[in-house]
Subunit: 235 residues, 2 copies
Amino acid sequence: MRKVFTEELQFITDQLVELSRLSGAALRQATEALMDADLEKAESVISADQHIDAVRRDLDARAVDALARQQPVATDLRMLVTAMRMSADLERMGDLARHVAKVVRLRYPQRVLGESLTPTFARMAEVAQDLVTEAGRIIRENDVEAVHQLTITDDEMDDLHREVFRTLLSPDWDSGVEAAIDATLLSRYYERFGDHAVSVAHRIVYLVTGEWGDDHLDIDERLDVTEVRRPAHLG
Amino acid sequence: MRKVFTEELQFITDQLVELSRLSGAALRQATEALMDADLEKAESVISADQHIDAVRRDLDARAVDALARQQPVATDLRMLVTAMRMSADLERMGDLARHVAKVVRLRYPQRVLGESLTPTFARMAEVAQDLVTEAGRIIRENDVEAVHQLTITDDEMDDLHREVFRTLLSPDWDSGVEAAIDATLLSRYYERFGDHAVSVAHRIVYLVTGEWGDDHLDIDERLDVTEVRRPAHLG
């Protein structure tokens, strides 16, 4: 009985790692579609999101089933509750990748981004990839020590988000309101993707220690977009 | 023992209703601050969000505790799992109200919205209030029948979101890029507030029936912002 349960917990962990891989792959593809105005790739991200949703649904059903059958306590209980929370974050990251792809589809055959914003978004995508890859590794290895470094990596995402607003509000911006709306939403999608990766990692702290860290309050949104924009506004 | 557990479940339900009341009050206040450029009111929403976070944290801790002590199955188990999901939605709705308040603070003493957008946002706020009030009632009364109507009410929110983009992209828009960025983000906050209210209501369906409805896939985002924007773009 215990052996079956241990196997079930391992399966759930594996599926969380798989979800992080899938949402990372979705954002990588969506970014490629964004950079190349590649409609086919965008469509592929949009349809693949159903698979992410299905994996999440299956994972949650198994977690509820394990709660019902195994009546776990302590660490096992925390594991199952945490798994359901992490699956929600990871599935949402897939949604955000899909949102990026949908902006690409909306503007096709035009490119969404002009030259002034392309390098910033290219770097946002790299940081997002680092964050989700590291979050997956932290899940797999229960590596609580690495969580702090992840939040530092996410600080660069916030800097890049700020950089987008600086570009949009600079006197050189001549691409108009529609392009500014696209960039505002895209920037928010990448930044939120990073937030959820950080959130996943923080949940590992709860899983391992049973305590939320000091920054538990900030898990769902580490930095408000308005705070990001203040320097742009003042400068 | 059973009596204690029933009381605990009732307490958790009451706290969910309380969270819906708090997030609704936060958005109402944030909207008043938005309409009147009222810094004091905005600050009050921003600091009150900590209380919402605390209620949510307490609720989740009680739910985990009840899982550990009572080892519930069937409906009781679903109730506790669902409560944790609903608390995440409701807490996020409080965050979104806080985001609105932060935009007000960022632009103070200026008003964020010009005349052309004010009526649309006033109506968005009313719809949001209807949605969260109704979601609270659905939680209290387990009123599965009312969930469908709620999604219809939310359709108006999506129409209003579309209306914002139409205004921003019309030839009459003369308030510039920064005001367009503000309106884009604000509109997204109200629209997401509505999505989460619908999500809360849908979770009641799962709680009562044990099944996700047909539209379970759309719970987390009923309408992508890109789809909302398509007509504005084409027309």
